[in-house]
Amino acid sequence: MKNKNSSKMSLAMLAPIYIFTIAFVALPIIYMFVLSFLKQAESWGVVYEFTFKNYLDILEPIYLTTFIESFKLAVLTTLLVIIIGYPFGYFMAKLSAKWRGRMMLLLMVPFWTNSLIRLYGWIIIFRANGPLDKILMFLGITQEPLKLLYTYPAVVVGMVYALVPFMILAVYSSVEKMDWSLVEASRDLGASAFEAFRTVTLPLTLPGLLSGIILTFVPSMGLFFIADILGGNKVVLVGNVIQEQLMKAHNWPFAAALAVILMLMTSILIYTYRKITKVNELEGIL
């Protein structure tokens, strides 16, 4: 009796959450999905006529190349983010409580600053004869300005810069939960420091690493404004195409189809993550 009541109660309390989720998450996704099978109208909006054309268009070389290029950039970005973020998160978790708090603050500061302003900071740094060139030339590493702005490396740096905090936080939260006596047990059983890392620490912090990978890889397919601002129009990503189709070409159905494909890739990634780690929440998000 009491149970029934309380379940009714909790249903009543959860109802707003369900309504919110349906209204602002499920419906837009369904709308986008439906949109992706419709036709672009001659002038404005869409024609309610079923077609696979949008998906077939994606297979056209220019768009397919964009997908592949985006994918490559995302892989490169993710790799760099792992190389920088994993050790960072790992050692941060091993700091004393006082220093952990300070590092956390430093990590959080950028989140409170407008991301465009931070990107313009990079423009200033990368500009020909900007601070970076000056320093490199002063140190004699380069002889003349590198003209890094509006190049591929500039985009990569911008991406890594924007995404590495997510990896750090994800790794940090799983390393912090590590039971270090397991590492001691492994050393005790004959493992060198590296073997202990490989066979115990790494597998046990894998949930953090994998969620860091998802949190890096997924956005890096779509962070069009970084490619725009730091790459000029030399680097075109799926995100740029979606934005362009939506805002300039007004081809909503095609933009929707591109977005659906991106979402599908994301879902596959998250599904794989769950399969590997048997964990349902992404580590480090909460």
Binding site: E184, S186, R187, D188, L189, G190
Partner: protein, 356 residues
């Protein structure tokens, strides 16, 4: 001597301002079962960790099989540990947990399989290979931790309160099994516990530890019957420790004057002199309570009477506030709380302590 397998020489260790080990020495023979017994925080785990190489001593040396291993990494020492919380790898199944050290040593697969199933048979958990540690009960995890530690055939097996988390009946059963296992394998055990009964039942020798020092290292019988210090007497034998002044010695029996009366204590191996201040220990089961009008005995007031199992525990309060606990079989007490009494004991059941 050649059959000394482990030797600690003047080991000291501090954590910040806390001086945890204060220059301890220990020699352990091959195949011996040595127990470190002491209250919480006295440095038992730290000692074990220094032997394993998981902690480095500030000074002093550790020898294994005659070799100085003081500066060797844990993986280079042929010592394995059964951790207090078992520390089984949660991401590996039971087979891989036990085979962990074999894999590192590149033992081939068939051999690995054989050794693991032998080890599982030894701890009576055949067929558990595919389970994960999370699917085992506390007692089973404990056995797996032992199996994992012995497949390496270590020179010394270190066990940190391996039975601490188990309930009493399982504890008793595991004590017997562990002891049997140790005999069977012939592996040297260094065993930590703060359960004195466990220490007395299982060990070849007990090292009683207190505040980073060994108070006494001896055979359980010796620890029990001839405690060297009042701490050992009260911690291990739950003995009562009293003090007084020797009035005279005759035929190896000292007449001791205490604040509560006169009593007699066997000198045993010690020589005591007239007017010497002495401490002596006497266990509760050797104390007899008599009426207060008896001619001999020490005066006290009954302050508590209770039953533990089929034992009667009577607490006696002395004039200076100290307490003495007397135990006897039976469930009826002739005395009631508040009653004035005298208590006596045989001279042979009391021993001098703190003589050095």
């Amino acid at each position: 001597m050649s059959d000394i397998i482990l030797k600690l020489e003047n080991i000291s260790k501090s954590f910040g301002d806390t001086h945890v080990l204060k220059g301890i020495d220990l020699e352990v023979s091959k195949g011996e079962f040595v127990t470190l017994l002491g209250s919480s925080g006295c440095g038992k785990t730290t000692t074990l960790r220094i032997i394993a190489g998981l902690e480095t001593a500030d000074s002093g040396k550790v020898y294994l099989n005659g070799t100085d291993v003081t500066n060797l990494e844990p993986n280079k020492r042929n010592v394995n540990t059964v951790f207090q919380n078992y520390a089984l790898f949660p991401h590996l199944n039971i087979f891989d947990n036990i085979a962990y050290s074999l894999k590192l040593k590149k033992v081939d697969k068939a051999e690995r399989k054989r050794i693991v199933s032998d080890a599982l048979a030894l701890v009576q958990l055949e067929g558990y290979e595919k389970r994960t540690p999370g699917e085992l009960s506390g007692g089973q995890r404990q056995r797996i931790a032992i199996a994992r530690a012995i497949v390496n055939q270590p020179d010394v097996l270190l066990l940190d309160e391996p039975l601490g988390a188990l309930d009493l009946s399982l504890r008793r059963q595991m004590q017997l099994e562990l002891k049997k296992l140790q005999k069977q394998l012939g592996i040297t055990f260094i065993y930590i516990t703060h359960d004195q009964e466990e220490a007395l039942n299982m060990s070849d020798r007990i090292a009683v530890m207190r505040n980073g020092n060994f108070e006494q290292i001896a055979h359980p019988n010796d620890i029990y019957n001839n405690p060297r210090t009042s701490y050992v007497a009260s911690f291990v034998g739950s003995a009562n420790v009293l003090s007084g002044v020797v009035e005279k010695v005759k035929d190896g029996v000292a007449k001791v004057v205490t604040a509560y009366g006169v009593c007699f204590v066997n000198c045993g191996k010690y020589t005591v002199n007239t007017d010497q201040k002495v401490n002596f220990a006497v266990r509760g089961e050797n104390i007899l309570i008599n009426k207060s009008d008896s001619e001999t005995g020490l005066s006290a007031v009954i302050s508590d009477v209770n039953f533990v199992g089929n034992m009667l525990r009577t607490t006696l309060k002395l004039s200076d506030g100290n307490e003495v606990v007397a135990t006897k079989h039976g469930i009826t007490s002739e005395y009631s709380v508040g009653q004035e009494v005298k208590f006596t004991f045989e001279p042979s059941s009391a021993v001098f302590v703190d003589m050095e």
